[in-house]
């Protein structure tokens, strides 16, 4: 069966959920092989096998941590050249997309970024993308070389398909340091007890209407009552009220949860670009003309500082 390479996104061997989604998608196209860069392969192998990786190619070289992107490009290109895969899947994110593009250039292959679905066709993978601020749905395919595809989080639900992977260590020849970018320091994203934005089934977001960092407690309390992730508009992030890693929108994270609740957010196109594919949208805004109501399945015209605390109380009451 055709081999499909999947680049593993991990921190010290802790595999992130989007990788499991990639492995699940890869099984539609062929037999997944995971490409693991850096330290922690021993921890990761069991999980990768559980989600169907028949092979795990391990590149444990210091360069992977010392330099940005290019070591991954060298590794993936060299592995692809000798394994001739039928497709290469990577996570969509600045690192994944840049790696994908450079690998595709070296392999003289085509590239599709930000796929929200990948299916098998007789001529190879067909992708689905959501474009123009999520107002259009596009299907496309690569017409030259090995299709290189980056996939957004939540494209599919990870499904286990356990196998015992064969682990192969790889020695990679790295390119000249003069064309490389040194990583001077690295601060892994802080993990909170709340679900990650891209992984959550419910997202509660606050905007300029929250009016202050300390007031975000109102958003957090509702998020905790619903088991949700916390999001923010760019206005709230720019004001310094909430970290940028929580920004929803064109230049933040694009989410597609079961429920998106926007409080004190007007609904600018750049914000909509990051949330309008959510299944159910709820808005709380004191301005009845706010554009966010145009896409809301349910809206409350009112003060978020009254509506949200009452909602939390009511959730607690209903749960007894």
């Amino acid at each position: 069966m055709a081999e499909i390479l999947v680049l593993v996104d991990h921190t010290d061997g802790a595999v992130r959920k989007p990788t499991l989604e990639l492995l699940t998608l890869a099984r539609r196209l062929g037999e997944p092989s995971a490409v693991f860069l850096g330290q922690g392969a021993d921890t990761a192998t069991e999980v990768l096998g559980r989600y169907g990786a028949h092979k795990v190619y391990v590149v444990d070289a210091p360069e992977v941590e010392e330099f940005l992107v290019t070591p991954a490009v060298d590794a993936l290109t060299q592995i692809a050249e000798s394994t001739s895969p039928a497709a290469i899947l990577l996570p969509s994110g600045p690192d994944g997309k840049e790696t994908a593009a450079r690998v595709a250039l070296r392999l003289e292959s085509g590239l599709i970024t930000d796929a929200i679905d990948v299916t098998a066709d007789e001529d190879g993978p067909v992708t689905e993308q959501s474009v123009f601020a999520a107002t259009y749905q596009v299907t496309a395919h690569v017409t030259q070389g090995v299709p290189v595809i980056t996939v957004k989080p939540n494209a599919t639900a990870p499904e286990p398909a356990p196998v015992t992977p064969a682990v192969e260590k790889w020695d990679v020849t790295f390119g000249p340091a003069s064309a490389a970018v040194k990583v001077l320091s690295r601060a892994p994203r802080e993990r909170s007890d709340r679900p990650e934005l891209t992984e959550a089934d419910i997202v509660v977001s606050g905007g300029r209407g929250v009016n202050g960092a300390e007031n975000f407690a109102v958003i957090e309390r509702l998020a905790d009552a619903l088991g949700a992730a916390v999001g923010a508009s760019r206005a709230a992030v720019d004001a310094g009220w909430y970290p940028h890693s929580h920004q929803v929108g064109q230049t933040g994270t694009q989410v597609s949860p079961g429920l998106y609740l926007a409080a004190g957010i007007s609904g600018a196109i750049q914000h909509r670009a990051g949330m309008q594919t959510s299944k159910t949208i709820v808005a709380v805004n004191k301005d009845e003309d706010a554009p966010i109501f145009d896409l809301a399945d349910y809206g409350v015209v009112g003060d978020l500082f009254k509506v949200l605390p009452q909602l939390v109380e009511e959730i607690e009451r209903r749960r007894g």
Binding site: A104, A140, R186, L259, K306, V307
Partner: protein, 259 residues
Amino acid sequence: MKIVVCVKHVPDATADRTFTEDGNTDRESVDSLLSELDEYAVEQALRVAESGVDADITYLTIGPDDAKDALRKALAMGGDSAVHVSDEDIEGSDAFGTSLVLARAIERHGFDLVVCGMASTDGTMGVVPALLAERLGVPAVTHLDELAIEDGAVTGRREGDSATVRVQGTLPAVVSVTDRSGDARYPSFKGIMAAKKKPLETLDLADLGIAPEQVGRTGARSAVDTAAKRPPRTQGEIVADDGAGGVGLATFLTAKKFI
């Protein structure tokens, strides 16, 4: 220091953008402008020039005739000259065609620093800067929230996939900057008038030694099969808070099984 800033002329992101029948961006039905995310690239280049470095700033765009408007807008913000690459055969290029044309134009002009936006507001791939660096054989110091140029190197902060990193590459280099790198200035009236007199050169594929089949739809390595408008979302029930708005919302969420 020779700085080249790559700017893209894109359909207005706040309008209803559509596709033509052959799957290309419809540039007729919607006004186009300088990609808002490239204004940040212009701003950072101007700040480098203002920091005391002896800099010469050239803007570079690929696009049809009216893409010149993006160059004029950038020139009105500051900088020295502009290059417009325009050729019918470029239409329908993918990221590889686009980066090939940009790289050749940059090499022709010469550079110490190339500044790009983090992504265009239409294609939104965010890969052209990395492809340029790969083609030019120089470091790609990309997706920076913050940058400084000192002692022949670019240092910056980047929010990557799972970590925030401080990174450094030596010049010559390609950088790209995010919308958090610093607010872009507005062109002044004086700037707008001055922009009209700044040199603007127009090039085609032959000037860059690129064969037509290397770019455009012929050279593209991917193809769009279908482009369909998503059904617009319909408005549901909107209620005014009469003092029990939270309770009403709880009832909706319970019915939808979120509670």
